[in-house]
């Protein structure tokens, strides 16, 4: 058993499952978004904000944001542990990524439920 404290789940299996589930959520969200934009060629502010008034749309979007954060974290954590050998560099990068993803997530919640 190989230990690593910066990986949240500590289990390769749960990371692996999470990576696949989040990929499916992101794929569905992207298809929906592209479809919506194609169906609304002359999109204006009222229609667009109307879409996000809907609770289902907010929940769907939040799910996609969380999926992005999880997917990006697992991927970038893996990249860091593959290619960044100096500990200070790797740890610094990992902390930077966690903070950035956290900020984006909170900001995303604010955008969805604020305004």
């Amino acid at each position: 058993m190989v230990n690593n404290i910066t990986n949240f789940s500590r289990s390769g299996l749960s990371d692996w499952v999470l990576q696949r589930v989040s990929a499916v959520i992101l794929a569905v969200y992207s298809v929906f978004m592209v479809g919506y934009l194609l169906l609304h060629p002359n999109l204006d502010y009222t229609t667009w904000s109307g879409l996000f008034e809907n609770t289902a749309m907010r929940v769907f979007s939040l799910m996609a944001f969380i999926a992005i954060a999880a997917h990006a974290w697992i991927g970038l954590w893996t990249v860091a542990t593959d290619y960044m050998k100096p500990t200070a560099l790797r740890l610094g990068f990992q902390i930077f990524v966690i903070l950035a993803l956290f900020i984006f997530l909170v900001w995303g919640v604010q955008v969805l439920w604020g305004a």
Binding site: M1, V2, S11, G12, T78, T81, D82
Partner: protein, 234 residues
Amino acid sequence: MLQVSIYRYNPETDSAPYMQEFQVDTQGRDLMVLNVMEMLKEQDSSLAYRRSCREGVCGSDGMNMNGKNGLTCVTALSEVVKDNKLVLRPLPGLPVVRDLVVDMSLFYKQYERIQPYLLNDTPAPAIERLQSPEDRDKLDGLYECILCACCSTACPSFWWNPDKFVGPSGLLQAYRFLADSRDTATEERLSELDDPFSVFRCRGIMNCVAVCPKGLNPTRAIGKIRELLLANAT
């Protein structure tokens, strides 16, 4: 005349590795790469490489021939030579002891880690543990591994984390014991593999499958381990 370029490095006398050029007269024959190396050894007796069985059984002469890992004794010149040139390098990613001889300690450490022997906590029968022909068939494609390390040293995940990722060869062997009906330690074996490195560093690039001189498929075995882990944990 075949142009041969060989990686040379003697840590006692050389400050850095270099490539040495040789010319070999094969008289138009399609020799095995190992035959060519023996001819070179006559030209320069200081050249160091490992070999033993010369028939693809012992696994000691794995090296990188024109960019692809393989056993020199079962690789014909016609399979690797391009533009009349042959470039020989040690297996990538492992420390070089001298010339084409690499230090396989990390590779063996990973092999040792997966406990490559039967573990069985039931009382031993008087003669031997029996296995049905069907259960025996499940070991085909697994037990044939000769530990040549061609696969693990072709795997980028093993290059970056040879101390943490078991590597294709070790994982093929891990599955060989997980799949054996006479082994009762499945749970313990799986719990040793569930971390983010040991198995899950495999990115499915299949370099291992492309180079295995015994035609084995470590990627498939790794997929089976993943299935077992999933079935065990959900």
